[in-house]
Symmetry: C2
Subunit: 325 residues, 2 copies
């Protein structure tokens, strides 16, 4: 089994979830998807989102089910379904209560970002002016996440906070969706120094296909993307690289506005967008949805990766990471 | 009126509120008290506390009423009652929602700390290792507090955060309850540099009578305290000094444990106490409750303050500050 395993995993999507999306993910051969189920919601609001997901699982039981650990990836593969793993892009569901970490785990949560773009109670986001690192409460929460089995995700966090989290966490952490900043210098992308520390600690990077994280945005070529993967593999162990596409299929533009502004500002922050381009950017044509995994497979092969390396990047590396949770 | 005014104000108490406490405050001649009504409560939990206060106002209408602005201090003085001004020692009641600042003001809130001891969404508390200053959300909230009329209180905040708040706030800010660290080097006390910047900006310091903020703790002498006031008046304009006693009359020890630990830790933090002395410390005998204002009056006179200066420190300075809200 181990020698033949070949899983496909997209470790970050935040789509407007419909049967159509689940079908596309199956067409793409995805055995697992880490789905963002909340951003800035509190614990009660999380409950509302989980209710919606229960309905989705019931109505689409031929396509998806709730994933709880790595064995569900194997199960999905053999049943030709997609295991959905729940994750949060902010820590607001645990509010200021250490006891809620275990509760969100019981509800299915397997990944939680310590911050979105702003300062949280746990750490600093990449859009703040000063990065104070992991806070007192953050230290307690990381310990508890390690204990119950929720992965520390630092995708939107600032650099010192991320380095702190790597040091404090007894289990490997994840950056589920971001790219290296040597390739495209966005606030959300990560420095080579950080990626090396992440990899050395056993942590994993999910490469993003979200246009604001890509060189030349929507016009990014697949050749450029795959060249970036090759250069990233010079910095990181190739076994610590996966995909976290950040696909937001069919989301209306007000959703990205809410992601960026929550309820914390009276003025509008355009985040990675601009006043003229406030909405979701158009995907590159070679990755309009998860079926683009096939293009990645070809592109990575063309640039010289071996089959076992490509299998790793497109899913097996995430599968192995799930074994550490 | 102005020339003869002589108000007594204690600008921080967190007592276990009973008719007895209100009577003591009247015996002390207090025209106004800034009462902490919540620490780590969220917006709904704040509502519960306000319900309790409505009952207290009804049952003790001969002694207290809800204060809304400086005119209520004058009213209290003429009616021989105490105006109670609501304040929060953490920003948790506004959650992550800028819209709640106006709502808490409507509910009576006139002072809000940007942090308790830990990092908040707005700024850094004095017990954190690193102080990143006021956050993005913090900037927005200060603007909104200025607009609606809630005083920025930095009593429990770290130094850079406090300096940021002074700079960002268009209205004077307050440190409602703390002492200078030159006198007693507690984490909660403030540096001379900070106190000077505070005073130069029109901000005000409420001197604390809480034993952990006092030199020699419970055994602090009134002479030492009044000497400290004199030295503080060398750093700050004497018109920017008042009293914020931090009296916690009749509170059981579990309350101070909750203040210090909230729900954010599985281990116990003893804050200003120690494992051997985890509870509330005993007040010095010359300030067991607000009736100690009479001792302060004598002590300040003995050390050489003029009557107009003493009147300022014991209430008139706070009264003038309330005019700026």
């Amino acid at each position: 089994m181990i020698s033949k395993m070949k899983f496909k995993i997209d470790n970050l999507q935040y789509c407007n979830w419909t049967r159509e999306v689940f079908k596309i993910n199956r067409e793409a051969g995805l055995d697992a998807v880490h789905a963002t189920i909340v951003y800035h919601e509190d614990f009660n609001e999380l409950g509302e989102q989980i209710k919606k997901w229960k309905k989705l699982f019931t109505e689409n039981s031929d396509l998806i089910f709730l994933g709880k650990d790595f064995k569900d990836i194997e199960k999905a593969n053999s049943e030709k379904k997609t295991a959905i793993f729940f994750g949060f892009q902010n820590c607001s569901p645990i509010e200021d209560d250490i006891g809620l970490v275990e509760k969100v785990h019981e509800l299915g949560c397997r990944f939680m970002q310590l911050t979105y773009n702003n300062q949280s109670l746990l750490a600093t986001g990449c859009y703040e002016k000063v990065d104070s690192g992991v806070t007192n409460f953050g230290r307690e929460v990381i310990k508890e996440m390690n204990r119950v089995g929720v992965v520390v995700d630092m995708s939107h966090s600032a650099e010192k906070s991320t380095l702190d989290a790597i040091e404090l966490s007894e289990k490997p952490i994840a950056i589920t969706h971001a790219n290296p900043s040597f390739w495209h210098a966005a606030k959300r992308n990560k420095s080579s120094e950080l990626l090396k520390v992440l990899s050395d600690s056993g942590g994993i990077l999910g490469l993003s296909l979200y246009p604001h994280h890509l060189k030349d945005n929507t016009n990014c070529t697949i050749e450029s993307f795959c060249e970036m993967v090759a250069r990233t593999a010079d910095i990181m162990n190739i076994k610590n690289i996966g995909i976290g596409s950040d696909l937001c299929l069919n989301q209306p533009d007000e959703v990205v506005e809410w992601m960026r502004n929550g309820t914390w500002s009276k003025s509008t922050n355009y985040g990675e967008g601009t006043k003229n381009k406030p909405g979701f950017p158009k995907q590159p044509e070679w990755f309009e949805d998860a079926r683009g995994f096939a293009n990645l497979e070809r592109g990575l092969s063309k640039i010289g990766f071996q089959e076992i390396e490509i299998d790793g990047i497109l899913g097996n590396n995430w599968y192995n990471f799930y074994k550490t949770i």
